[in-house]
Amino acid sequence: MSFVFYVLAALTIAGGLAAVLLRNLVHCALAVTVAFAGLALLFLDLDAQFAGFAQILVYIGAVAILVVFAILLTRSSETPKDGGVFSRTWLVGLAVAAAVFAMLGWAVLETAPRLPQSAPVPVVTVQQIGQALIGRYVLPLEIVALLLTAAMIGAVIVAIHEKEEAK
């Protein structure tokens, strides 16, 4: 539990909180980007360098941008005129989330004594990852490739259909 961990954890949590609490959606998008970044750094702290960079590349580089685009395209940057940004029954949602956290936290704290205190740093090269991808995880790889293709085509189709009907 090093100092770095606490800072990174605080950053990530803050980003997440900001993402869900801010009124302006663009601010929320930026906050979530901060959260993503925090997470990437956490991955690096956990010696999962490939995962950390992949996180930066994909999440910050693509997902966050997508979110911003979506916010802009749906004019969600404007604050809503009636009510607030939270639903009328936000307390119920909060309660549910709290219940979930309670359960998870309790589970963690219950098993905390039995968790390993330390472990040697694993040495993971990109070559190893690549070989694992082609070797053992070749099926998931191909499926994910298929999935990405389908998602891309699907998103385009969904968006284009709407466009034609709007005309």
Partner: protein, 690 residues
């Protein structure tokens, strides 16, 4: 008397006796067919009735010839055909019919007179709309009457008796739209019913005592010596034996049907029916049924009599008969309706017949019955002819001088009238009445009936003369001129007139064929019978009496023509007497005050009972049921339906509540998902830990 020959159904040797049942059956079947005809089927109805009656007449004549043949051969015939009708355990109820001299002569008389009246009715009822119904009823009556005649069982006789009463009711009330006719029919039925109740009692008693209702059954019949001996061993009450008591009960029934005092009140009112009905039913046949019944059960009435003596039952019969004879004759003197005079005359003559039966035996009474049937039917039909010719006028004070306008009717009517009065020698009535007077003279109990009957003969001659002079002599007092009736009506009159004169032959003392025939003895022609002590003086007395009556009548009424509104000559002479007689000695009024008033009161009581008590009970039960029904409805609506409806409402509401889960909002679903996961995790953790 030779032993009677009777046959069982298995060994019937006489085909005629075996076919005897056809005699009443054919007219009844004809009536049944006629009942189905429409009003337009007049010719068919008349043909059916007359055809059936002709068949019955032929068969009756054949039966009579058979019996007469046997009698001539020296055998006394009594052939019975019996069969079991109902079996109740060990007891049987048997029915059957009998062919003996008594039934043979009665059969011939009934069917002959009946046939003549049927033919007469074609003319009389020609204008009537209900011609078909009339002949249907006539035929039914004829069948029933013939059934009474041939019955060998008291039960079968009673059944036919009741049927005769029913048809009498139907025919008296033939013109039912007239209230008087409907009331008369009702009166006839109810009055005869009173007698029939006693008849039924007597019948039941007889059955209980002797175990059978058959008259003759090879020695086992209820009026054969064996049964009679049994009946005589138990004295009943008031000095009567069982036989006497039963006999009196049966006589009560006969008294009703034959119009003896005090049950005579229906007969004059029965004149509301058409004249052929009066002629057939209330002169010749139905009223004679009572006399015939007594003749039939005569052994019962006579049981226990010492030789030459008499029984209590027969004494009662005699007194009632004699009283009726005088009573009715008195009333007849002061009546103004042509048919009513004849009706009272019939009542009077029926009294003579009963007295004859009581004092002189079966033959005496039956002979007068036979002769009376012919001349009374003749008189009624003659009256009908007169009424028809006078355009439906029935009051004798509006008639007159008809001897010129209606000659045939006049001649035949006079013949009948003289026969009724008992005009000597030529007319049958003289011989038959004389037979009764002779029996009365020699009666051992009292002399009073003789004097009463003689007085009655005087009155008979008087009132008949009065009637004839009012109707046929003098000048015409009506509105329209009268005319003679068609030959279809006058021909039967002629035939009956012939018989009214000729029948006297068979009953003279010189050749008492009728008596011998009935009693199954041989007889020869013997002039010396007139020499019997007391016979000629008796004949002299009766001749004198008849001429006295005729003379009285002629002097008072004669050829005079009193105006219709003028009081009667007798009335002028003795007004109070006339008043009493004219009002029929107030018998009807007496009944009205006593019996009928009581009955009315009793009917009211019964009505009150019925409406308040029984009706109240029924209403209470119905009210309870209604209450129960209402309670059920309440339960059904509120509890059953209510609970069911409520259940359904709750279900719908519940469904409504549940439907709120489907809010359509994604976040709600997500929340529920998350909660479910938490719950699931909790369950898994806790179950693994436990």
């Amino acid at each position: 008397m030779q032993e009677s020959i009777s046959f069982t159904p298995q060994l019937a040797a006489s085909p005629i006796a075996g076919m005897l049942w056809l005699i009443p059956a054919v007219p009844i079947v004809a009536a049944g067919v006629a009942a189905l005809l429409k009003q337009s089927g007049r010719k068919t109805a008349a043909t059916l009735a007359i055809g059936a009656m002709s068949v019955s007449l032929l068969l009756s004549v054949a039966a009579f010839a058979h019996v007469a043949g046997l009698w001539f051969g020296g055998e006394a015939a009594r052939e019975t055909v019996n069969f079991t009708w109902i079996q109740v355990g060990a007891a049987n109820v048997d029915l059957g019919w009998v062919l003996d001299p008594l039934s043979a002569v009665m059969l011939v008389m009934v069917s002959l007179v009946g046939l003549l009246i049927f033919i007469y009715s074609i003319g009389y009822m020609a204008q009537d709309q209900n011609f078909t119904r009339f002949f249907c009823f006539l035929s039914l009556f004829a069948g029933a009457m013939l059934g009474v005649v041939i019955a060998n069982s008291l039960l079968l006789l009673f059944m036919s008796w009741e049927l005769v009463g029913l048809t009498s009711y139907l025919l008296i009330g033939f013109w039912y739209q007239k209230p008087a006719a409907a009331a008369a029919a009702k009166k006839a039925f109810i009055t005869t019913r009173v007698g029939d109740v006693f008849f039924l009692l007597g019948m039941v008693w007889l059955f209980a005592q002797t175990g059978t209702l058959l008259f003759y059954n090879h020695g086992a019949g209820s009026i054969e010596p064996g049964a009679l001996a049994a009946l005589l061993t138990h004295p009943a009450a008031l000095g009567l034996t069982a036989a006497g008591a039963i006999g009196l009960l049966i006589f009560a029934g006969a008294a009703g049907k034959s119009g003896q005092v005090p049950l005579h009140v229906w007969l004059p009112d029965a004149m509301e029916g058409p004249t052929p009905v009066s002629a057939l039913i209330h002169a010749a046949t139905m009223v004679a049924a009572g006399v015939y019944l007594i003749a039939r059960v005569y052994p019962l009435m006579q049981a226990g009599a010492l030789t030459g003596g008499t029984t209590t039952a027969l004494t009662v019969v005699t007194w009632v008969g004699a009283s009726t004879a005088v009573f009715a004759a008195l009333i007849a003197v002061a009546q103004n309706d042509i048919k009513r005079i004849l009706a009272y005359s019939t009542v009077s003559q029926l009294g003579y017949m009963m007295a004859g039966l009581g004092m002189g035996g079966v033959a005496v009474g039956m002979f007068h019955l036979i002769t009376h049937a012919f001349f009374k039917a003749l008189l009624f039909m003659g009256a009908g002819s007169v009424i028809h010719g006078c355009h439906e006028e029935q009051d004798i004070r509006r008639m007159g001088g008809l001897k010129a306008d209606m000659p045939v009717t006049f001649v035949t009517y006079t013949i009948g009238m003289l026969a009724l009065c008992g005009f000597p020698i030529l007319f049958s009535g003289f011989w038959s009445k004389d037979g009764i007077l002779e029996a009365a003279q020699h009666w051992s109990v009292a002399k009073a009936p003789f004097y009463m009957l003689v007085f009655g003969a005087l009155l008979t001659a008087f009132y008949m003369t009065r009637q004839v002079s009012y109707v046929f002599f003098g000048y015409w007092r009506g509105h329209k001129p009268a005319h003679e009736s068609p030959s279809v009506m006058t021909l039967p009159l002629a035939v009956l007139a012939f018989f009214a004169m000729a029948l006297g032959v068979i009953g003279t003392p010189a050749w008492p064929w009728f008596r011998a025939f009935l009693e199954g003895r041989a007889v020869g022609f013997d002039w010396r019978a007139f020499g019997e002590p007391g016979l000629l003086p008796l004949m002299g007395i009766s001749i004198v009496v008849v001429f006295l009556g005729l003379g009285f009548g002629w002097t008072l009424y004669g050829d005079k023509t009193p105006k219709a509104e003028e009081p009667d000559a007798l009335e002028k002479a003795v007004p109070p007497v006339w008043g009493w007689l004219h009002n029929r000695l107030y018998v009807d009024e007496l009944y009205g005050v006593t019996v009928i008033a009581f009955y009315g009161w009793w009917a009211q009581v019964a009505d009150w009972l019925d409406r308040r008590v029984w009706g109240g009970l029924v209403s209470a039960v119905a009210w309870v049921f209604a209450l129960w029904a209402r309670m059920n409805r309440f339960l059904d609506t509120n509890v059953v339906d209510g609970s069911f409806d409520k259940g359904c409402d709750e279900l719908a509401a519940g469904g409504g509540l549940l439907a709120r889960v489907q809010s359509g909002r994604v976040q709600t679903y997500l929340r529920i998902l998350a909660l479910a996961v938490v719950a699931l995790a909790a369950i898994l953790i806790w179950s693994s830990r436990a």
